[in-house]
Amino acid sequence: MKTEIINNVWIAGLGAISSIGLNVSENLKSLRNQNSGIGYPMFLDTIHKNDIPVCEIKMSNTELEELSQMKSHLPRTAYLSAIAAKEAMMDLHLNSGLISQSTSLQSLLSSYRIGFISGNTLGGMDRSEAFYNEFIHDRAKGHLRDVIHHECGSITDLVANHLNIHHFVTTISTACSSSANAIIHGSRLLKHNKLDIVIVGGADALCKFTLNGFNTLMILDSQPSKPFDENRKGLNLGEGAAYLVLISDRVKEELKLKTYAKVAGYANANDAFHQTASSAEGNGNYKAMLDALTMSKIDRKHIQYINAHGTGTGNNDSSEGIAIQRLFENELPLISSTKANTGHTLGACGGLEAVYSCLAIEHNLIFPNLRHETQMKELDFKPCINLITDIEVNNVMSNSFGFGGNCTSLIFSNEKN
């Protein structure tokens, strides 16, 4: 007998920053207008600044520091994380029916157990790079302030302090599925009644470490990426942060909250095939999607849209596409990858695409897969290439797959179900 599942997990606040927008509404506008953040970097200091395009947020660290209202010399990832998490909290406030009766968000939330769970893959690596540059020549050199936030957990702590959240704080690092897994963990904590409200998502900024790392794997496209295209050449790296505020039934009722959707299903599985490559049949991908669907109790034909992981690499799009086909057979939903817009934001992508999935439900939209020309030979489908507005979107699946065989699938559903 299962003793959990005591309540629903609702989404009552959204926050996002990416190369296509500094907040949720700018991101939505860019998705509608089919904009992409791709271009050569202005702020990332690398020898590849003229040969590897990236999806960079066009703001300096100083500008991000100001926007986030945090102190100076912090890692770029901390600024991005704080900006998006703060927006999600403010959004929760705006969505409350009690807003006029309450003086501040703080007082509104004072009686609740609030958590912050964030995914990232590189902690303060951008600052560590600056530190190491001096340290490798002289072990007494390098500013300690540049390396003090090296750990992934430091970024989460910095932002949790900034948001004044102390009840429960943790960090998940499972490569490109990190923030999707933060959503799973937050949902589980709500279901087990360990928290009332939890801010979940993730962040990652561009840095030399990942740009060069992915470059050695030869999976970066030197042109704008083409997810799910027969002639795709690889991914573009991006940067960003995105968070969702998850709440229990009780909080929804007490704060009279308007919600975007509920987290109807989630699952994490392991492909157990290779450290960096997916199995040809997409076994881990298939299991994650199947388990999430089973948990949601939603019939596969009622999933209107899959926001795919769709990185644009030969391997991912093939494995993911085949796994989707195996699961949905002749009842395929509309499918697109918004990584053609935002680039692959690594530890942030699961959160960012969860926000986009909520927007798809909220506004009844399917976002197009940019730059798609030729259908992949091994797939029976091609992604959705036009913005679709005359559709009712009730259930959305969002996939995130990462190194270490880590596969996550999330299902978001609106209240009508």
Binding site: I136, E151, T170, T216, Q275, N283, G405
Partner: protein, 349 residues
């Protein structure tokens, strides 16, 4: 919901035989304890071993030991904690980016630098297709993994022998040791754990466990609960935590406490336990060193103490105290730099 500890794998600066009643612990004269690595011959194929950095080697070795100890080939889920992740591969790749000015780089170190490399590799080796998480939250990394496994047990009570592989892993490579030393975290080279000075002793290790909602013939102990303290009043948090588990301060007969030889913290930490009037206080960091997932080493010691019903003399903080012959309720109290306080409750089966 409590879980049973059914298998242990441990690599640390000690050589611990989990099958032996005797716990051989040895003191070191150093400000940095490195792991005594096992003979990998029967654990990892030599070709794979050559490419693996230390944290990957010790993580996989501990995983294999824990699974074999529990008589299990494949766990249902894997959930690990590591504050630092794969530091030596990170240092390696970062160093090359900078010295080679982003030229002529090879991918191996980058591939292995990902924080979930160890949990992913264990999944690969054991063909575990289940849930696979890695928590990287400093001094609470292992505790979060443990807490998560307990929620899984509650969700899967009806599944026979549902088992999770959990643990804490961290390595302390040269660059990291030198950098952290510059923050004044460790004692001087010529000092040891007993030196009355500021700073602690650096450590590293991999302690993994098979936990399940069902016990078996090999079970060591039961873990009742874990608490990631979020309150500045530690004594109050302890009281509430014990009360939630239908216990009070007098029920605790043994407490493994995370004092680390740093004169800035030790007294403070012991003061937080002043309400434990009936407990023997045991120190574990003298034998594993200080690192953010060192609590997994204490979890290993606590499990062995409860199964064997023997407390090694060397662990007692006060040699004069009356030694309990029958430890029943073991509390583990840890912290990292007076932050990330946590409590874990273990009980004799």
């Amino acid at each position: 919901m409590s879980v049973y500890i059914n298998g242990i794998g441990t690599v640390s600066s000690q050589t611990i035989d989990t099958r032996s009643l005797e716990l051989n612990l040895s003191e070191k004269q150093s400000n940095r304890y490195l792991c005594i690595e096992p003979d990998y011959k029967d654990l990892i194929p030599p070709m794979q071993l050559r490419r693996m950095s230390k944290v990957i080697r010790i993580g996989i070795a501990s995983a294999k030991q824990a699974l074999s100890d529990a008589g299990l080939e494949t766990p249902d889920i894997i959930t690990l904690g590591t504050a630092y992740g794969c530091l030596s591969d990170t240092e390696n790749f970062l160093g090359k980016i900078l010295t080679q000015n982003e030229n002529m780089l090879t991918p191996t170190a980058f591939i292995q630098s990902t924080h979930n490399t160890v949990s992913g590799q264990i999944a690969l080796l054991t063909q575990c297709f289940g849930h696979n998480f890695t928590y990287v939250h400093k001094g609470h990394s292992f505790e979060t993994a443990l807490q998560e496994s307990m929620m899984w047990m509650k969700e899967n009570e009806s599944i026979e022998n549902f088992s999770a592989l959990i643990g804490g892993i961290d390595e302390m490579p040269n660059d990291t040791f030198d950098i952290i030393s510059r923050f004044g975290t460790y004692k001087n080279e010529d000092e040891n754990f007993e030196s009355q000075s500021e700073g602690t002793i650096a450590g590293e290790g991999a302690n993994l466990f098979v936990v399940s909602h069902q016990k078996n013939d090999n079970s060591y102990a039961k873990c009742l609960d874990v608490c990631l303290v979020n309150h500045s009043n530690i004594q109050e948090s302890l009281h509430d935590f014990l009360a939630q588990n239908d216990l009070n301060e007098h029920d605790i007969d043994t407490c493994l406490v995370g004092i680390n030889g740093d004169t800035r913290y030790d007294e403070l930490i012991l003061n937080n336990l002043s309400t434990l009037k009936s407990a023997e206080l045991l120190g574990f960091k003298k034998y594993c060193g200080e690192y953010p997932t060192s609590n997994a080493f204490a979890f290993c010691l606590g499990s062995l103490i409860l199964k064997n019903q023997v407390i090694p003399d060397k662990l007692y903080l006060k040699q004069s105290s009356i030694h309990h012959q029958t430890p029943k309720n073991v509390l583990i109290y840890n912290h990292y730099k007076n932050r990330y306080h946590s409590f874990i409750l273990l009980q004799r089966i």
